[in-house]
């Protein structure tokens, strides 16, 4: 799934037979109190927002909760939104902030909260890992990364945003985005090498 930050393509108005509405028209409809507009906004961008939340939190229920919180915050703040901007980077910015907050909350929880072995994010086994479970190894390695590095990595490799679009989402310079992404890759590569994952 390739994300289009303009919001018109890439899943626009999925499941709706009407003509796709661009971002400015959608914002105008939301502000005018059109009852269909919130559903249109959610259906158009829920895949992008939920995907980011899922990759950041690596937990289905937490991702759903954060996605819901993201859309509610967006709907509440729609009156102050600059309608000349595209909606998707703004939604992703809100979602990224909510994910960071959720991760910080999770870090403050006592260890007993992860008593369920299915929720353990880190593979407790030592030594050689399963070479066929590359995606699982990558997700476990991501859990060790700083949230900023993880966010940039997910936006680039999972949401397929460019450096400029990521800089727009995280409100940082492009150079910072490149630095964080390269550091994230270096740490992930080191983790995979230590785990004995080779190709």
């Amino acid at each position: 799934m390739v994300t289009d930050l303009t919001g018109v393509a890439g899943g626009a108005a999925r499941g709706s037979s009407e003509m796709p509405m661009d971002d400015a028209a959608l914002v105008k409809a939301l502000r005018s109190g059109d009852e269909r507009a919130p559903r249109l906004l959610i259906e158009r961008f829920q895949g992008v927002v939920f995907g980011l939340c899922y990759r950041m939190l690596n937990h289905q229920q937490d991702a759903e909760d954060v996605a819901q919180e993201t859309f509610i915050r967006a709907l509440r703040a729609m009156a102050g939104f600059d309608s000349t901007r595209p909606i998707c980077p703004w939604l992703l910015e809100i979602a990224a902030n909510r994910c960071r907050t959720a991760l910080a909350r999770r870090a403050r929880k006592p260890t007993l909260a992860l008593a369920d072995p299915a929720e353990e994010l880190i593979d407790p086994r030592g030594g050689m890992a399963d070479p066929d479970d590359l995606a699982g190894e990558l997700e476990r390695a991501l859990a060790d990364l700083r949230p900023d590095y993880r966010l940039v990595f997910v936006l680039f490799h999972s949401q397929h945003l460019s450096y400029e679009e990521i800089a727009q989402v995280i409100t940082r310079p492009v150079g910072t985005v490149k630095t964080w992404l390269h550091r994230a890759r270096a740490q992930l590569a080191e983790y995979l090498a230590e785990r004995g994952i080779t190709q």
């Binding site: 109190g33 919130p38 959610i42 829920q46 819901q68 709907l75 890759r185 270096a186 080191e190």
Partner: protein
């Protein structure tokens, strides 16, 4: 290729493989880059494990795939949650046409607000009544004190008030003032006579002469005694004369005790300074 180029080339390679255009196939440049990376990894023991890790990462990203799609009921759940909460600022037309409780379910309804208003009004009335009762009790107590003062002076209270016969406050105050002045007059004149007798007794050698001299001083009556009258001046002059004539010479002890009143003290003789050799001895 050095170690820095090694890192940069690997990142460029992963960038290209992650982009849609880079996934289409390997170009000649990518093949050259891969050959250079392998040569550097073979020659550099520091970068050799990094090369294995970057190769694993490249494969893991490709195996990572897409995140799962959101559940079908997520949109409905978000809409229900959004409708349960007040969303942003309403439009001007909505603000003017609908009541606040209708726009925001969290805002209390009109019945609750009316109940709160009634309770507030009742509380205000209770407060006013309480303050009035306290003020009434205080006024009654002050009137009782005025009646008591009028009874102590034992004087006619003058014309009674119009309705209840209770003397007015200014009449009671005037009566109390007059009684205080009478008391001062009756107590001051004997006190003045007694003071003169004590003064004569302390300055005359015997009691007979004291009684004689005391009779020589005429104490004016209270009514004629005003500070600037001739009688007052004459009385003060007589007291002064009697004091001056009766003063005895001070004894040596008294002179020594009150010598500071007689004149400046003689200068002290200079104290000899201790010689440095005596210090610490």
């Amino acid at each position: 290729m050095n170690c820095q180029d090694f890192e940069r080339t690997w990142n460029e390679r992963i960038d290209a493989s992650s982009s849609p255009a880079g996934k289409e196939g390997t170009s000649i440049r990518a093949a050259d880059d891969r050959r250079a990376l392998l040569e550097h990894a073979a020659a550099c023991p520091t970068c050799r494990p990094k090369a294995a890790g970057y190769e694993a990462l490249e494969a893991a990203i490709l195996a990572w795939g897409q995140p799962p799609a959101p559940p079908a009921e997520l949109a409905n759940r978000i809409l229900v949650a959004a409708q349960a909460l007040p969303l942003g600022r309403p439009s001007l037309s909505e603000r003017s046409s609908k009541p606040l409780s209708a726009r925001h379910p969290a805002y209390p309804s009109i019945h609750i607000r009316r109940t709160v208003q009634l309770l507030a009004a009742a509380a205000s009335i209770m407060a006013v009544v309480t303050v009035g009762l306290i003020a009434r009790v205080a006024i009654d107590r002050s009137r009782g004190r005025i009646r008591l003062a009028a009874a102590i002076t034992e004087r006619p209270t003058g014309p009674a008030s119009d309705r209840s016969g209770v003397p007015r406050l200014n009449e009671a105050l005037a009566s109390a003032t007059e009684a205080t002045l009478d008391l001062a007059r009756s107590a001051s004149e004997p006190a003045a006579r007694l003071s003169l007798q004590l003064l004569d007794a302390s300055t005359e050698p015997d009691i007979e002469s004291a009684s004689r001299s005391s009779s020589a001083i005429s104490v004016p009556s209270w009514d004629s005694f005003t500070p600037d009258s001739a009688a007052a001046v004459a009385t003060i002059q007589q007291v002064g004369d009697r004091l001056a004539s009766g003063v005895r010479p001070l004894s040596s002890t008294a002179r020594q005790a009150f010598s500071f009143l007689l004149g400046p003290a003689p200068p002290k003789p200079p104290t000899p300074a201790n010689p440095p050799a005596a210090r610490g001895a």
